[in-house]
Amino acid sequence: MSWFRRVGWRHLVAILAVIFSLGPIVFVLSAALNPLGTLSSSTLVPNGASPDNFTRLLQDTDFPRWFLNSVVIAGLASLLSVFLSALAAFAFSRRRFKGRRTGLLALLLIQMFPQFLAVVALFLIFSRITGLWPAIGFNTWWGMVLLYLGGALGVNTWLMKGFFDTVPKELDESATVDGASHTGIFFRILLPLVSPILAVSGLLAFIGTINEFLLANIFLTDGGSKTLAVGLYGLVQGSERNSNFGIFCAGTLLTAIPTVGVFLYLQRYIVEGLSAGAVKG
């Protein structure tokens, strides 16, 4: 009984949670393994297991290329955007300047403008950029990365600012007394202390970017430059929807792999974070 009160209930909650979160994914898995690969024939238990859909995905589509594009674009964009938003969050959390709260609010409000309307303006910008600097224009990795960096100061800055706020200010003050500069405080005190949240925001930014398809669909038109989200979406367009559903599910599952990989890599920082690190010593 006391085992249950201490640990057992945690397992119970965890198992319930896992059932909830895996239900639809099992459905996708069974559709991916189902050789017929159509929708209504897919049930929780596959009618037969075959790697057909996976082989077709790899043979008939540019999947490996999409995969590479997605990983590079999402990897670069999330790394850079975490850094940019950490910088901004530091200013918002630690510095007091005119327009600070207005700036924070503005950051939030900008995010709320419907993106499907902004597409026209983005097209305008990118047509100019492509004309002048093709290396960062349409159909390039850098173009997409720059575009996604436009959103770097969005949600993530808010998230990080909240965490910076939880680190007591006395730490900075005593460091300042000891002669540390503001860069010293930022890089050597704050960043290590909030590393769990850097990892979390990195992961969130990575997932957000890898799943984005509204803009990627428009700015990456060359077959070789497409990302996973765009490529997969193209598989289930219009009348293709049914016959490609199995392949689509296979692709969906494979798309989760880089994300899970990033999660596994970052999990240490999320979990060990500070509790095992500096402060407890």
């Binding site: 209930w9 909650v13 965890a14 998230l159």
Partner: protein, 507 residues
């Protein structure tokens, strides 16, 4: 606490810092120079000026010891300005125009389109075979063959005349590659004839055609030479309008002042549905954010502390978030199907999930919960880790139970860390277009009102108003978006004010 941190933090390495600074500034300068060349080449002086000013500003900012907050804010802000603020301002400015299908381009574009569209083949005229040729000086000409008689002629702006050979002396035939390099010239090239002009149809055929409609600058109107009908330019509407009210389809973009705003306010089908949609939109955003937060936090707490399989559980719980969300939204839609969906099959029920308002709303919220709780789970897990352990240890010594300890110590700290995030998550869900569009598409719709459904958010509703009619109406959509923006801004600003007190606790 500060004891351990003292060492590395205070011992700054001046040399290294200078090297890094020089490297970074050097990169900025290099990028600026790289970017400057095409601008100078294309004579984009304004662009060049902006580039120079930005670079100079950056160099100044990072060499001076003042403006510390700006040093941290500027990098992200630059991207923000180009890729977010400019698009938003640009879009907002279209709210005052009739920008949309039929009114996308300039008046000159519209006139060109009208004239091009009116070019018809002269009835009974010959279809020629065509070769594109150039004279010694590079001037274009058409070498055309009448397939019936085999007669060869050469044509240029002076007209058509018999050719003295194939190719005629002094002329060179262009191959497709060479010809397509002069594509624009060829398309515009016309050899005048009595009935009209000979134009190219591709690179290998030519036909005799006339432009039936022509623009007359003096009267600012389009005239049809066959029917004699005249359409006068109407600068208020951005279209050519005939006396009988008929409009030519090809219009242009003009300023319409506040017309889009008044239309949004006065159209009674819009105002009738607006309030109901707004209320549901708030319910949706609040429930999505709150629900995912509570569930995510509960799971995060359950998975704290020492237990086996923790790592495995965490990965499995994050999986829904790792799957592409648009794909999972499409899958969920099928799971909710009345007759074929997995949910009814497993539960043995026959619920028409997307068919009635309440069940559809419940269904989209459930989908939101599934998609969103891993996010909150991750964030809360990170936040819980960031809370120093001795804080909880201290309360435990005081004899408080784990639940009280959580409420007294961890929850307030969690809320400090997460309130900004909850606000921004609310803002995101308020405009969560895909969540609705890829599942219910806003439905179910009342039988007597196909314009507004039970799960419609303001943004899906706007989308339907703006793009569901005959062609996209960007200007109108922008106007409605501005209204929505104002509402959300007020709500966010009010709730944001309330965070000030919280924030200052730690300042």
């Amino acid at each position: 606490m500060t004891a351990q941190l003292e060492g590395p933090a205070t011992r700054a390495l001046p040399v290294l810092r200078h090297i890094i600074r020089i490297l970074l500034l050097g990169t900025v300068a290099a990028v600026a120079i790289w970017a400057a060349f095409p601008l100078a080449e294309g004579r984009h002086w304004t662009g060049l000026g902006i580039l120079a000013a930005t670079t100079a500003g950056l160099l100044y900012l990072y060499t001076t010891s003042r403006h510390i907050p700006a040093k941290y804010l500027v990098p992200g802000t630059l991207f923000l300005i180009v890729f977010q603020i400019f698009p938003v301002l640009y879009t907002a400015s279209t709210a005052f125009t009739n920008f949309g299908d039929g009114h996308r381009g300039s008046k000159a574009d519209a006139i060109t389109a009208i004239q091009t569209a009116s070019v018809t083949r002269v009835p009974g005229s010959t279809e020629y075979q065509l070769k594109i040729v150039t004279k010694g000086d590079g001037a274009l000409a058409f070498l055309i063959t009448d397939p019936a008689t085999g007669q060869l002629s050469i044509g240029d702006s002076a007209g058509l005349r018999p050719a003295g050979g194939n190719p005629p002396p002094g002329y060179t035939v262009l191959n497709a590659g060479q010809a397509s390099a002069r594509s624009r010239e060829i398309t515009d090239f016309a050899v005048p004839t009595a009935a009209g002009a000979i134009r190219s149809a591709g690179l290998s055929r030519a036909y005799e055609g006339t432009a039936v409609r022509a623009y007359d600058q003096a009267t600012d109107s389009i005239r049809d030479s066959v029917s004699g009908k005249v359409w006068k330019a109407d600068e208020g509407a951005g279209a050519f309008v005939a006396g009988d009210g008929e409009r030519l389809a090809q219009g242009w973009r003009v300023n319409v002042g506040l017309a889009n705003f008044t239309r949004a306010l006065t159209d009674d089908t819009i105002s009738g549905d607006f309030l109901r949609t707004l209320v549901w939109n708030f319910v949706f955003a609040t429930a999505s954010t709150g629900g995912t937060f509570l569930v995510g936090m509960a799971f995060a707490i359950a998975l704290q502390g020492r237990m086996r399989l923790k790592g495995l559980y965490r990965i499995l719980l994050v999986l829904p978030y790792a799957m592409p969300s648009f794909a999972m939204l499409l899958v969920w839609r099928d799971l909710f199907n009345t007759d074929f969906g997995l949910i009814n099959n497993v539960l043995g029920t026959n619920v028409d999930w997307f068919g009635t308002g309440l069940t559809a709303q419940f269904a989209v919220l459930l989908v939101q919960l599934w998609l969103g709780y891993p996010y909150m789970f991750l964030v809360t897990t990170g936040a819980l880790q960031a809370i120093p352990g001795e804080l909880t240890d201290a309360t435990r010594v005081d004899g408080a139970g784990p639940l009280q300890a959580f409420r007294a110590v961890k929850l307030p700290l969690l809320l400090v860390a997460l309130t900004p995030l909850l606000i921004s998550s609310f803002a995101f869900n308020f405009n969560n277009f895909n969540a609705i569009y890829l599942t219910t598409e806003g439905g179910p719709f009342p039988a007597d009102n196909p314009a507004n459904g039970a799960t419609d958010l303001l943004i899906t509703y706007t989308y339907r108003l703006a793009f569901g009619g005959s062609g996209a109406q960007y200007g109108f959509a922008a106007a409605i978006s501005i209204f929505i923006f104002l509402i959300v801004a007020v709500v966010s600003a009010v709730s944001f004010r309330r965070t000030r007190a919280q924030e200052e606790v730690y300042s």
